[in-house]
């Protein structure tokens, strides 16, 4: 079975608070690490949350477990980890308001 892969979930798009990436199915993985990099200056900080769900349908969004990390204006990287398992269907990244604390 596949043991690791890298997938760009979103690129070159303007992100607003509470935007969520398209779901990426990774039920085969034990762990997901999500990275975010700003491509321009932006206007405020935010937090990146990892969402996981057992369902392939985004209509059934449910953040069963999640961690969050800071997203700074460019140029920066952020990284969030989430333990997922074969019981989970997909994972995605959501950005919310406020500085990370």
């Amino acid at each position: 079975m596949l043991t690791s892969t890298v997938a760009t979930l979103t690129r070159g798009e303007a992100w607003r608070l509470d935007d969520v990436s398209e779901p990426y199915e990774a039920g085969w993985a034990l762990e997901a690490q999500l990275f975010a990099r700003g491509l321009d200056e932006g206007d405020q900080q935010g937090k990146a949350h990892v969402q996981v769900s057992p369902m392939a349908s985004a209509g059934a969004t449910r953040a069963a477990r999640s961690t969050c990390c800071p997203v700074m204006p460019c140029p920066s990287f952020a990284c969030a980890n989430s333990a997922i398992s074969s019981a989970c269907g997909w994972t995605c990244l959501r950005v919310s308001n406020g500085p990370f604390s």
């Binding site: 079975m1 892969t5 997938a7 398209e22 199915e25 039920g27 491509l39 349908s57």
Partner: protein, 284 residues
Amino acid sequence: MQPYPHRFADPQLDKFDPLGRILVHDTFSAGLNGWIGLIGNYEDSLTKMLPVFRPMNQPMLSTAVGWDSGSHGAMSGPYAMKIATRPIKGAMNLALKRMTFRKLGRIQLEAYIAAKPEPSEAVLSIEDLRSFGMFMDLQSRQYRGLPHLRFLNCLDGELKHTWQFKQQTADDNVVSSSARTRSLQHLYPHGWEDVPDGRQDTCYNELPTKMNWQYLKVGVDLRDMSFTSFQFNDREFDVSGMGVMRMEPWANLDCMLNIGFFVETDSDKRSFLFVDSVLLSGDF
């Protein structure tokens, strides 16, 4: 005496009818095998990428989970390659595999696939999926050829159930300040023509969570970039009236052999194309 001497002992191969040499035989329970999303050409900045390519994202390994049954699984194993559009009417997504060819001759692509809308509500949803199809991007020293085929399921809410091809040469744009990188607009929605006698009722099944794996076969001759065969399930189509998008060779693409699958949505709901297995063969 074997009753079927032309058959394969391996049932994973025996469900295909390959030409003499098998180049690719991919299933997706162990990985994506080099299948990847399409990144539009650009230099300098991502903003140079043509709009049609920007929303495209990566294929994934999926057990095809539905809310009413759980994991559907694939035909050949637990995982299929899943290509998903965004939930925006008219959105398209695709996955492709990039190779080169070693002989200018006939090639043949076969696959078992299933196209479904996202099972996000308890309705039939048959009008939600616009189309699914295949394309190739090929280049000999004489031509660049891009065979395109799609099953137009529904357009603006009206069921069509018609196969279409695209032969109208697409525009291209320079997408770099150096003027060395161009991008071909072959995936824009215009330019489709109906395959002669191309109407076909396929197996959608009664729920968006029920998937039936369906057989697709497309043959192409690299020498003149023409279709040589086209079959979907039990229908074999006459390819004499089907053309291929063909143009002068581009720089840096000698012997290119790219194969891909795509899906389009006809509503503000994701559409999925699941690919169970792919076989590419050639006559050498």
